[in-house]
Every structure is written in C-alpha cells, then in structure tokens.
Symmetry: C2
Subunit: 196 residues, 2 copies
DNA sequence: CCTACCGATCGGTAGG
DNA sequence: CCTACCGATCGGTAGG
C-alpha cells in the first residue's frame, strides 16, 4: 500500500513535469489535456485520477515555483550581508532558476495571466511584495552609499528582466557555458550599480 | 467609391488594433474571433470580410512591428555615430516602442511562437539577424575601447531584456513618468558598459 | 486506467 | 454585414 501511494505521487509529479514543459513550449491555452496525456502515454480521462483540473496543474506549477523564490528572499534578508552581496545572491539565484528549472520558471513568468480568480490575485500580491522587498534592499544600498544613486525601481526592473533574457540563450545554441553567462551578468549588473 | 475603400481600410486597422490589445491582454490562443468581433460591435462571421484568418491578423501585427525595428536599426547603421551613441539610440527606440506601441510590441515579443510555419521561421531569421547586428555594434565599441570588455552577447541580452521589463512599469501604477524611466535606463545600461 | 460520451466553444463557410 | 450552420476539438464526467 505504501508502494501504491508512492506510485501515485510519482505519477502526479510526472504530469506536472510534462505539463510544465508543454506550457512553456506552446503556452497554457494552446496545450490540451489530450496533448498532455499523450506525452505521458495514457488517455486524457485518466489524468483526472491524479489531478482535479487543468487549472490546478497551472496553479501547482506556479505557486511551487513562487514559493521557492520567496523562501530564498527571506533567507537573504535575515543573514546580515551588505547590500551588494544580497543583490549578487539575488541575481545568482534567479539565473540558476532560469538555467536549472527553466520550464517552471518560464511558466511562472509568462503564464500567470491564465490563473483563475482567487489564485490570480494571490499571485499578483505575492509578486508585488517580492519586488518591494528587492527595492528595499537596493534602497538601503543607495542610502549607505554602496550603490550609485539609482532609482530602486529601475534597478529592480533591470535585474529581473536581464535574468529573463537568458531565455534567449536557453533557446539558442548555448555555445557559452551557463557559468560564464552567470558571472558576466553579475559583473555587468553590479558594475552598473556599484559606486567606484 | 474612394470613400468605400477608405472605410474598408479603416475597418481593418480597427480590427488589428483591437486584436493587438486583446492578444496582449489574454494571449493569441485565448482570444476567440467572437471575443474580437464583440469588441468591435459586429458578428464573428463579418470579420472575414476584412481579414482572411485569425493567423493572418497575428502575422500582420508582428511583421509590421518587426519591420519598424529593422528599419530603425538600418538607419542607425548608416549614420556614422560612435558606438555609444548608436547603443543609446537603440535603447531609446525600444523604450519608445514599449511605451507608445505597447500592444504591438508585446504581441511581437510574446506571441510569435503562435505564428504558423513559413512565417515562424521567417520571424526567427529576422530576429537572429537583428541581434547579430546589435552584437556587432557592441563589439565595435569594445574593440575601439569605448566600452568595457563585455561579452557582446550578454550586453545585447541585458539591453533588450531591460526594455522588456518596462512592461511591468506599464502594468503598474505608473507613478514614474515615461521620460524618467527612459533616461534612467539609458544611464543605467550605458553606465554599466562605458569605460570610465 | 479505459471506453464512451457530454455540452460548450472553436475557426471558418455558405448564401444572401 | 447578418443568420444559420459546419466539423473539429475542447475540458471534463460516468461507469466500469
């Protein structure tokens, strides 16, 4: 019986994994439950033994991923590094998400609009809270004169967006190793912020 | 008769304009022809007097917008400004697209995956050519020692992505004027590139 | 996990 | 520009 339970959990994970990949490739709306079932090797109706609805799949992917981001930010806030180290840790975390959990991260960023109502506003609130915390970290760096007098809002935008740009690298031939992209991006972004 | 022609052209423009807005808000796949028709005040079947298919609408929006980007880049390449001025012009152009033609630009960047096959590869080729030209401009700046020794690929990624981040500003309360965002982003990005 | 099937909605056409 | 309608496909359920 323990085996049955483990088996079922494994199947749901498989569904979420395949769904994440397909939602990233074709978008949530353009992916049908029949497409998803076929990629796993079962009939569409059988999916509903493991999940409640198509929407539920999207919710699980997005909130699982968002939660990892929130946990990392909380970790950063409590250990007393200076602003620049905090920002560097943020950049490296997001680059790693983009590289190692590409599907989940991409779905969170691009498909959240298709969440339905209680979840949609929950996600929007979480995201607002997240960027406000990031801006606070940057603002502290500006006040302590570690950083140039940038607008925290613009700096936050630049950091999060640049990481998102790695999607393009992911899609392309990837001649450049991930670690080189990461280090260069850190240098590039911190270089634009740090006071010399 | 001239009046009829003008009227028809106006109607098609109206369809493209509404479609661009709805594709941006809900995505191409999630927008139905009935949704689109309703926003204009006609029946879905009547749309087909002005356009051939749903795909054609997406194609027109995307290639019209891509063409404007390509034309601007060509303009930049022929007038003999130095690398930094060229890059600044690029940043300001894309920020302006994001601010003033938000729907079209957003649809091009986010919905191109839903182009069907001859158009899909044409777009991919155009985009590859565009970023290669951008990288060449940056590489020239590095060689002439105007810029720090950055990887052109990473710098290109950062610039295009940062502009894309303005989407977030667009969606939010917009307390900060567009011109301030634009100037700050230019300063921020050029500051990270320029050799002091 | 499957077969069989539901009502709803999709993009698009015919014919006026 | 509309009414009327097409075949296909959608998310999901019943019943085993």
């Amino acid at each position: 019986m323990a085996k049955t339970v483990r088996k079922k959990a494994g199947k749901k994970d498989l569904i979420l994994e395949q769904a994440s990949r397909m939602f990233r490739e074709k978008g949530f709306t353009a992916t049908s439950m029949r497409d998803l079932a076929e990629s796993i090797g079962i009939e569409a109706a059988s999916l509903y033994n493991h999940i409640q609805s198509k929407s539920e799949i999207l919710q699980e992917i997005i909130f699982r991923t968002a939660n990892d981001c929130n946990l990392h930010l909380d970790t950063i806030e409590i250990d007393g590094k200076d602003s620049i180290r905090k920002i560097e840790s943020l950049i490296r975390f997001h680059v790693n998400m983009m590289v190692n959990r590409f599907d989940d991260y991409h779905v969170m960023i691009n498909e959240w609009i298709h969440l339905s109502d209680p979840y949609l506003s929950t996600f929007a609130n979480q995201r607002r809270s997240y960027v406000q915390k990031m801006e606070a970290i940057i603002e502290n760096g500006v006040r302590s004169k570690q950083l140039k007098p940038v607008l925290p809002y613009v700096a936050m935008l630049t950091i999060l967006s640049s990481v998102r740009g790695i999607e393009f690298w992911h899609r392309s031939s990837k001649k450049i190793p991930a670690q080189v992209i990461e280090d260069n991006l850190v240098q590039h972004l911190i270089g634009g912020l740090k006071k010399n």
